[in-house]
């Protein structure tokens, strides 16, 4: 992944989280301590792909406590008012907004088609496996480590 594309991912994901969820992302360039950062969390995976002149697929791995928190902020409700369906829906919408926003920058001609996102609870999350992916990026948040993996 080239540095300019990596920076665009950082910028667009940060913009979505700050604007819609009032949550700040801290990019972490050094991944060596990343496994420990993710060790105590259960995770949700949200996937979205696009195709056109350029094709690709993004997978977001959100700690459940982060997903719950952004859902609360998004809806303006308290923790007890948020259910699993809303959390998964917010995870899907997060992927949709972040990658849609990114496509607006890398594909100004609008030739790429964004697909419908999906999200689900993960039974077995492995940060170690993500570390081995060349398109893996990591953000720290107040509610755990957010992983973003790009594949083309």
């Amino acid at each position: 992944m080239d540095e300019q594309f990596r920076q665009m991912i950082y910028d667009t994901f940060s913009e979505v989280f700050e604007t819609m969820f009032f949550t700040f992302l801290e990019p972490i360039d050094e991944l060596s301590g990343a496994v420990a950062l993710s060790a105590d969390d259960d995770y949700i995976q949200a996937n979205i792909s696009y195709h056109g002149p350029e094709s690709g697929r993004f997978a977001l791995y959100l700690p459940q406590r982060l997903a719950r928190n952004i859902t609360m902020n998004f809806l303006g409700v308290e923790a007890g008012e948020v259910g699993e369906a809303q959390i998964l829906d917010t995870a899907k919408e997060t992927a949709n907004m972040a990658v849609g926003s990114l496509l607006g920058r890398v594909d100004p001609g609008g030739e790429a088609k964004l697909h419908i996102p999906e999200a689900y609870l993960l039974d077995d999350f492995s940060a170690q496996e993500l570390l081995e992916q060349p398109g893996a990026l990591l953000f720290n948040t107040d509610f755990g480590a957010l992983w973003v993996v790009f594949k083309n």
């Binding site: 913009e15 979505v16 604007t19 819609m20 859902t71 998004f74 809806l75 303006g76 369906a85 809303q86 829906d89 917010t90 899907k92 919408e93 949709n96 907004m97 990658v99 849609g100 926003s101 496509l103 607006g104 594909d107 100004p108 001609g109 609008g110 030739e111 964004l114 697909h115 419908i116």
Partner: protein, 149 residues
């Protein structure tokens, strides 16, 4: 005058957020209607009086561009302004929407003030009169994430 507003988005959470944002903007709302895709939106349009449609583009079953096309070719609905609220933010997609008759375009992620500004402009153009909103604290509109046509 209160407006009946139809929100079409496959995300139920986003529909709630848009509804809350419109309410916070002080737009006089008669009734809110919700659709998960364009086909459902067309069914609601057939059965109800709708003043404005706020629609996503990327939806299953029937997407927003097809919904716009269906609205504009129907003599009963073609007067209804359709505003896109979408992640599809390329200049080409915005131009395509404008040419097909969209009344406005709001990019996700959006600032609540952007929805307010564009919705008021669209409604005032469509209904040819000034809409009075309750006084609100001053805020700067961010015109970068949307436009009315």
């Amino acid at each position: 005058m209160a407006f009946n507003i139809l929100v079409a988005d496959d995300s139920a959470t986003m529909r709630v957020v848009i509804k809350k944002t419109v309410e916070m903007a002080g737009v006089p709302v008669g009734e809110f209607f919700e659709a998960a895709h364009g086909k459902e939106a067309m069914e609601i349009l057939e059965r109800n009086w709708i003043d404005v449609v706020l629609s996503d583009i990327n939806m299953p079953v029937m997407g927003g561009m097809e919904l716009l096309s269906e609205v504009k070719k129907n003599d009963d609905f073609r007067h209804i302004p359709v505003v896109f609220i979408t992640t599809e933010s390329s200049e080409a997609r915005m131009e395509e929407a404008r040419q097909q008759g969209a009344a406005g375009y709001i990019k996700k992620p959006f600032q609540p003030e952007t929805i307010k500004t564009i919705l008021y402009d669209v409604l005032e153009k469509a209904f040819q009169h000034k809409i009075e909103a309750p006084p609100q604290p001053a805020a700067d509109a961010d015109d970068d994430d949307g436009m009315d046509f």
